[in-house]
Amino acid sequence: MAGYTVTTRTRASQIAAAFALVLLIVAILLPAFASRSLIQDLFFILTMLTLAQYWNLLAGYGGLVSVGQQAFVGFGAYSLFGGAILWGLNPIAGLLLAGVAALIIAVPTAFFAFRLQGAYFAIGTWVVAEVVRLSVAQWKAVGGGTGTSLPRDARDAMWGAEWIEIAFDTRSSAARDILAYWLALLLAVATIGGIYWFLRTKRGLALAALRDNVEAARSVGVDSERMKWVVFLVAAFGTGIAGGLIFLQNGRISPDSAFSVIDWTAFVIFIVVIGGIGTIEGPILGVLIFFGLQTLLADFGSWYLMVLGGLGIVVMLFAPGGLWGLLSDRTGLRLFPIQRRLERRATIEENSDG
């Protein structure tokens, strides 16, 4: 009887994994020969990808449509700056502080926002983000409403920057960009790998079941309330680290930039929706389209946002699965498969126990 086995692996996913490994090695070695502007562009792409993956985990899998992720980006970034300014904390260690700080405010945020059903949850998270923004703007030690810069000695003290400066023979500002790029790469890979791993575990299966049908999932014993908490806190932690990293590279922070709903939530939502919500591949495709559009329409100011918003509406109306959804429906292609399939094992042990 035991002629069957449960598997998630496909031929395409094995090729994709090999390809991803090659790409990762190239990406690690890239600073040796790439220009500084390319490194900065890639930093931007990687951090947006990270934010998009966490939002996708929330909305695409957890059914938690948050419009308040800027709370975690901003508060994480401000904690990093606060740690460096008040306690002289090394900014690299500050990244961990950024994640923990975001996690800490995520607890009361979830407490309030989970009281709001469905669509009202979205605006509830937005209100909390506004409260955090307005409160941080009162924090005079980090510049109040006008913001502040990362202190010079904190910038220079960044672990590893000096080594990069010597190894790559560049100026210190370029070395810091390379360091930030490597950290962004590490964060993006850890995020995608972590989410992929999580979705393939038992809990991940429970989460996917909740996404597909809440009642059916509950009826087989999935604790939906607990899953919501887990997903929300994990997303806050990762979003906080990403926020810290973005403003560490930026070097300057202000409440308006750190808590921008357009930059840290609207863009992220469009990346996920256009690419394909509820898949790991979707945000990857989405961030590439997003960056392409931004480069293409850079000279047209607000037209760029209009096109992005319009594209988001069209995709939601006519292809709710996004571009990746269209592609994988037509071809059956899955690079990060999480569907479990029964496969007949090719061994001849059928008679032995039957």
Partner: protein, 287 residues
């Protein structure tokens, strides 16, 4: 005495927030749709009124009267062509479509009218006030508050005393059964959004004459409107008015203590109500 003045100003400001919120409350009550572009539609209506005032030289109230049917049509078409397609058990599509619409509207307005802040000129009314004992109340705030009460009464009348209101309530309770009785949910929803846009236009008139606005003003108005709806309790129109007043009073009292705390105080009041009465002060619907 100064506190009585502050609270009274807050109550009148609450009238404006109630006007922001009533359209949102109506649409949510009937089709469970949260329109994230609601604030931007208010700003769109304000620009429409401003255009009529500056191009045709009309008074703001006449201009608003002309804008009313235009905005009704905007709401009707928006619901028929776009929003009806995404209504359903899944909350994600309507949220994301209206969020996209919000970003498109903000940037279209920015492209059309620049990022400068504007104000609808209202002549002598801008500074007129009436003394009430030792306190003087602005005429515009009083008109705003009066309009909020009138709009609430009118919506209440439409909802509970007319055939259209019956269709609204029936569709809200059970669209399938309602459609068996000859009610077309798609048309009912289009009417509802049209009426919500009429309320939005009235709100825009007062938003534009009382304070400066620019293309990015919308989202903050959406948040105040949303807070008023939640404080009042979903589906209750009088509750929404009360919610608006609570936000207004919290803001003026907060501003009195420290000018930087105005907006924050409104949000905190909302969170406190959410903590104590998660379903709002006067909940009607169980959802």
């Amino acid at each position: 005495m100064i506190w009585v003045d502050t609270v009274l100003q807050g109550v009148l400001l609450g009238g404006l927030y109630a006007l922001f919120a009533l359209g949102l409350s109506l649409v949510f009550g009937i089709m469970r749709l949260v329109n994230l572009a609601h604030g931007d539609l208010i700003v769109l209506a304000a620009y429409l009124i401003l255009m009529l005032v500056t191009l045709l030289g009309l008074g703001p109230f006449v201009a608003a009267l002309i804008a009313l049917p235009v905005m009704f049509a905007v709401g009707w078409v928006l619901q028929r062509l776009v929003l009806n397609r995404v209504l359903g058990p899944d909350i994600l599509p309507p949220l994301l479509v209206t969020f996209g619409l919000s970003v498109v509207l903000q940037n279209a307005l920015q492209e059309g009218f620049s990022a400068d802040s504007r104000r609808i000129p209202a002549g002598w009314l801008e500074t007129a006030s009436v003394p009430v004992g030792p306190i003087s109340l602005g005429v515009m705030p009083l008109l705003t508050f009066g309009s909020a009460i009138l709009v609430t009464l009118a919506l209440q009348f439409v909802f509970y005393r007319t055939a259209l209101g019956r269709a609204f309530r029936a569709t809200s309770d059970d669209p399938v059964t309602a459609s068996l009785m000859g009610v077309k949910p798609a048309s009912v929803f289009a009417m509802a959004t049209g009426i919500a846009m009429v309320v939005v236009t009235i709100a825009a008139l007062y938003l534009g004459t009382r304070a400066n606005f620019d293309p990015t003003t919308g989202p903050a108005r959406l948040i105040y409107a949303f807070e008023a709806v939640i404080i009042g309790g979903l589906g209750s129109l009088w509750g929404t008015l009360a919610g608006g007043i609570i936000i207004g009073v919290a803001q003026t009292v907060g501003a009195k203590i420290n000018p930087e705390w105005q907006i924050l105080a409104g949000h905190v009041a909302f969170l406190v109500v959410l903590l104590v009465r998660p379903r709002g002060l006067f909940p009607r619907a169980f959802d």
